[in-house]
Amino acid sequence: MNELVFFINKGLVSGLIIGSIYALGAIGVTLIFGILRFAHFAHGDMMTLGAFVTLILTAALAALGITLPVPLAFIAMFPAMVITAFIAIGLDRTFYKPLRQAGARPVVLVMASVGVTLMLQGLIRLFAGVRARDMFIEAPKEIFRIPFPGATRPVIVTEPQVLLIGFVVVAVIALHWFLTRSRLGKAMRAVSDNPELARITGINTNHVVWATWIIGGALACAAGTLLSMDVTLKPDLSFNILLPIFAATIVGGIGQPYGAIAGGFLVGFCETLAVFNWSILLRPFRDELWFELPNSMALVPTQYKLMVPFLILIIVLIFRPTGIFRGRVLA
């Protein structure tokens, strides 16, 4: 049974965790893609930025001598989400809105977002350096060991992982409620569906754009913070996390938040299961197998993990460019 526990720890839990992060990122990217019609390349650095804002607030809280039953970083994350959302709106007003108003093609906005990401990257590394940082300033992170029947090893879940899963569940329910019940949420879906008609109908595009950046920025901050809490805060996230997030967005269908969530988990699980060493799970059956069990039986070597989102992306682009949830027909 220890093998099964190993599978749960290294396969299922990891997949769930990284899938949640991708999902949080992809919701923002898909909303921006759907409403503002461009692939937001600055999303990775927005996540890093959000995590840094949280880190600063956490340090401030710790300096005040505050201790709480939950990690300080998790509490600091909520004001940080607000701050990141404002920064996102500010970035839009300064860099994207003028281009939109000048009637620039979407690809010019993509390029502008690359410019923004480089600026964020430069600023973050200028002020914070390039080394990894621990988000747990005041106390070490708590680790839960859950005994598994019939196994000597426990299932291991850490505190930030529990918080992450809890946050994702709440965020998804809140988002669902917002998009299907509130006037502004419905307007967002309308603009994503048909921007021309939305304008004619009198839907205030500015409000919709703000809502998009608020949701995108806040969730990016949460994703960055929770990822950093799970491992460490590394400033070199930017381009490395973009590919899986874009893959999740496109798999889920552009402009489809539910698709983005599903896509995020799909990419996350594919990634962890592809690099998972399956020979460990097969070890108990090694005597009954018709072949000799190799030591390592991963579909993809860990250093080529990036291949997984890329292959998913390519396969979707070839066979179903609208995504599995039928995003808007693309031209």
């Binding site: 893609f33 461009f38 692939a39 390349f41 860099f95 003028p98 281009l99 620039a104 093609r105 979407p106 690809v107 010019v108 993509v110 390029m111 502008a112 690359v114 410019g115 923004v116 990401t117 480089l118 600026m119 964020l120 990257q121 430069g122 600023l123 590394r125 200028l126 350096g129 390039v130 080394r131 381009f239 490395n240 973009l242 590919l243 874009f246 496109i250 993809v300 070597p301 250093q303 080529y304 990036l306 291949m307 989102p309 890329f310 292959l311 992306l313 390519i314 396969i315 682009l317 070839i318 066979f319 460019p321 693309l330 031209a331």
Partner: protein, 425 residues
Amino acid sequence: MSEERQYSVMRDVVLFAALGLLILFIFVSQGPVYSLRMMVEAGCYAIIALGLTIQWGYAGLFNVGIMGFIAAGAATSMIVSFPQNADFWNSGGPGLVAMFIVKLAVSGAALWAIYRSERWGIGPKLRALLTAIAIAVAYLVLSEHMAEMSDEIEQASGWMGGLGMPVFVGWIVAGIVAGVIAWLVGKICLGLRADYLAIATLGIAQIIKHFLKNADWLTRGTLTVSPLPWPVQTPADGEFIMARASYLTVVAIAIVIIYLLLQRAYHSPWGRMMRAIRDNENAAASMGKDVNRRRLEIFVLGCILMGFGGAVLIHFASIYDPSGFLDLNHTFLIWVMVILGGSGNNRGAIFGAIFVYIVWVMSEPVALMLFNLIGTYGQAWLGWEPPSDLASRALQMRVFVIGLTITLVLRFAPQGVLPERQARH
């Protein structure tokens, strides 16, 4: 000659003269050895920038994976032209590599056959299923073989070594390999919206980067490969200035040839069609022009130039370090060169490449000096303890400047410094 045209010619002359003065100043102040190196590198970037300017300026394609194509070209050229490794050829290695190529070719042929299987009456669902199966089988077979091959080669001979061909052959093959990769990516993405090409090129660049970093059997990994052969006398034989000047001549000749060919293509019916497509895709498509095919052509052509430029650059550096020159951000340095020079303008790309590269190289000591100054005074006056990684932080400032330049140019000078001259017919 119209007044407007005269003005634009004048402006070109003035700008290039100013650039010449800047180069002259650097020659005088930094000495010829340093300046020649800088000029050769700037020239290589000019070739790469020409590749990008036709993609962006002629066809509006957003390529985020330039560094990947450069790296692919550099690695290819290294393999083709580096002297042979006798240990490898005496081991079982060549047989394994040959088998790998055979398996790769068979997989490719099978996939192609499935892709075109419509003509044999195979429906889309079955075709998708067959493709998925073929990809899975090919992947398992190839990765299995590659794992075995890399272990074998690394044990028997360290790495594969080169093929010992002439340098020029290496450069040409570098262009071809980059072109083939571009063809595959373009074939998949060019029918879709422009953002997808950006995402896919970002992905392919990251994968090429990871592959070259980890494939020790092919690239010797952290041990690096050197010295790469030169097409002219190397400085090892004595004269630095002579050697670099000859290399610069080769690069300059390459730029002139590429420039003339591109100008010719630009004014040919093909170039007119390209511009028609860029300016009004729908109109061009309704006139029966195959827009995606033209775009694929230009994407492949641009990437060939990037692969070629990368090869020329790496041979000059003389050392091939797979983890060395793969910073993704350099992609955007090339973007700055192109949009600053004015997209779709070949002279502008050359101007932008040389000018931006000079600024880039010069900004490094300036940034370091500035930060040391801040550090020293900060410590003296404010008792501020500067962080130990101040130098690496200072260099991040340059990344910020690239980003700022891109956004500012897009907003305030979308035509660039040297806009495309409206051709009259």
